[in-house]
Symmetry: C2
């Protein structure tokens, strides 16, 4: 319970009192300098500045927090269940937080339902956080409870004006996928959707359905799955029964891997018999056999952007940064998608 002193360096760090004495002013003047140097007389301001530089002063954030009842700590909620949650997104967010002088605590939020609500409550009780950034979709009650206390931004979630916070949850690239498949001659395609509590999963599904209809294609069915290969495998097994389906759009690359495996076990070749498209462009996806047609995302930028939204929410004065649109999201064509077979659904009869 009692950690040893930190930073037992060469002498203790300087305090405002030492700075004040050296500058020949009161400690409060030093404090004012930090709040807003322009409110001091230029001469005073300069004296303080010099003293600070000489003593190599850095403010004690602990003391400041105690007095102001604010903290410089933010909370990052990451999915505990998703074993390979892209850490780039997290490091992007962490970097943005640190640039703003905040520290980012990581907590894995596992499970679901009341269990998770309880866990969230305990975390929020544990220490005062200035805000929270969640990479996990939060149920309505969780969110309300959390937001009673601190600003919460759910990456890829909607803001309170119900404008989608673009980027992470933007599903528009699903339109490109459908168009790509249609251009290759596919007529009947299917979708393996992610967990529908994730806005990103919902948007991909929504855009998929709309695009299929607009392109005049047949919807071969939608199977919902978790964000992992095992679940994609299981979902695809239900879809492969319909041999007239010649293309599958999976909501992420892991699902696509599982789907390809399921097709392989059914003796159906990718892309000769069935095309498969993923989403996320994992670094491995270009090296799979077949390499995966997918949607590239700049995960680090997305994490950083989500954090900037949170930081903006912490300062009531400032407005959130403008939505940078879908930059960095683009369809990458690789081997797993190809022309529809000549006689769709008849591959087994060709021999």
């Amino acid at each position: 319970m009692k950690p040893p002193p930190a930073g037992a360096g060469p002498g203790r760090a300087a305090t405002i009192y030492e700075v004040a004495r050296l500058a020949g002013v009161s400690h409060q003047t030093v404090s004012r300098y930090m709040a807003d140097p322009s409110k001091l007389k230029a001469a005073t301001s300069e004296k303080v500045e010099r003293a600070m530089a000489e003593l190599n002063y850095t403010p004690n954030l602990t003391a400041r927090s105690l007095r102001t009842r604010s903290t410089y700590r933010l909370l990052a909620l990451v999915p505990g269940a998703s074993p390979y949650f892209p850490s780039r997104m997290l490091t992007g967010a962490a970097a943005a937080a640190q640039d703003a002088g905040y520290h980012l605590d990581v907590v894995a939020l596992e499970g679901s339902g009341p269990d998770r609500t309880e866990r969230l409550r305990r975390i929020l009780d544990g220490g005062p956080f200035a805000g929270a950034l969640s990479f996990v979709p939060l149920a309505g009650t969780d969110l309300l409870q959390a937001q009673e206390r601190i600003p919460v931004v759910v990456a890829g979630e909607y803001d309170d004006q119900m404008r989608g916070q673009g980027r992470m949850s933007d599903g528009s690239a699903a339109g490109s996928i459908v168009a790509h498949l249609a251009a290759l001659g596919h007529r009947r395609i299917a979708h393996i959707a992610g967990p529908q509590e994730w806005p990103a999963a919902r948007n991909r599904l929504r855009v998929y359905r709309q695009a299929v209809q607009e392109a005049g294609l047949e919807d071969g069915g939608v199977a919902e799955a978790e964000w992992n290969a095992a679940s994609g495998y299981a979902a695809a097994q239900t879809l492969v029964a319909d041999r007239s389906i010649t293309a599958i759009f999976a909501a992420n690359d892991q699902l696509a891997v599982g789907a390809i495996r399921a097709l392989h076990e059914e003796g159906r070749r990718v892309p000769d018999d069935v095309s498969v498209v993923g989403w996320d462009d994992h670094p491995e996806s270009a090296f799979l056999v077949p390499s995966l047609t997918t949607v590239h995302m700049d995960l680090e930028a997305q994490g950083s952007h989500a954090m900037k939204q949170l930081l903006a929410a912490l300062k009531p004065g400032r407005t959130p940064p403008p939505e940078p649109g879908t930059a960095g999201m683009r369809l990458v064509l690789r081997e797993s998608s190809g022309p529809a077979p000549r006689a769709p659904g008849q591959t087994s009869l060709e021999a």
Copy 2:
């Protein structure tokens, strides 16, 4: 006179003064209760306990830190370059830290050399950390500089008695891999090693070499690579020239994916012509085509274990937890490894 704060409003958290008043003792007694309840008379202790429960008291860590000049913040250094650093390892560590009442800050450590040393210095200056857990190998100078200030544990690194801190860096399963390949009739095998500044990569290589020799096999060569598929692909391209190599052991699953791709492009089938074995057992690896023979690791337990070592280092009294050995590390046999071809190196002449 210093009366306790006016009203224990439902909004603000209770303080020791309020607890003390309710329990009919002094605030210092409450403080003592938290330090060690057994030092109080049983009756007093119980009164405090009841008051705490009634007020739902949680100590203000900020105030405590200010007085004790200590912090409850730990630093987690994760590789910024590795896009899919297993976040499970991180969440395991975070959970262990939180159980001990610490908060874990995440920082991505990118680049290398003096650049990185500078970045590390800035981070350590930024706020007082009680300790640091690095998932990145630290160069000698970085490490020394950091350890001057706070305890540092590098996951998978050696401790100061040069006992390997087992688990993460344990390479013994490489022996199982070589034995497995030898049993399948392979005579000449190769290794794609990870970056040699990582102890885990060095140990896998070391055990590989030793096992190859002991099994009386031929070492077909070692290619060093980064921890990603692209690098595994490039490394394998140099190895496939030697067509007498019938098996490749890659230091992790991503490298194996890259290697399989390179073999595929050379027209060599896996496992019919060449067997490939990975390490880590990514959740996707079971669903690849071919599914990957690999070494399963319990990443979350490893992260948690590394954190426990750090926590032990923070309390000079306690000794580090016993090394739990290689539990959870085991070879998983799948499709990517199979019997050596009848006429090794002659596959292209069979037709």
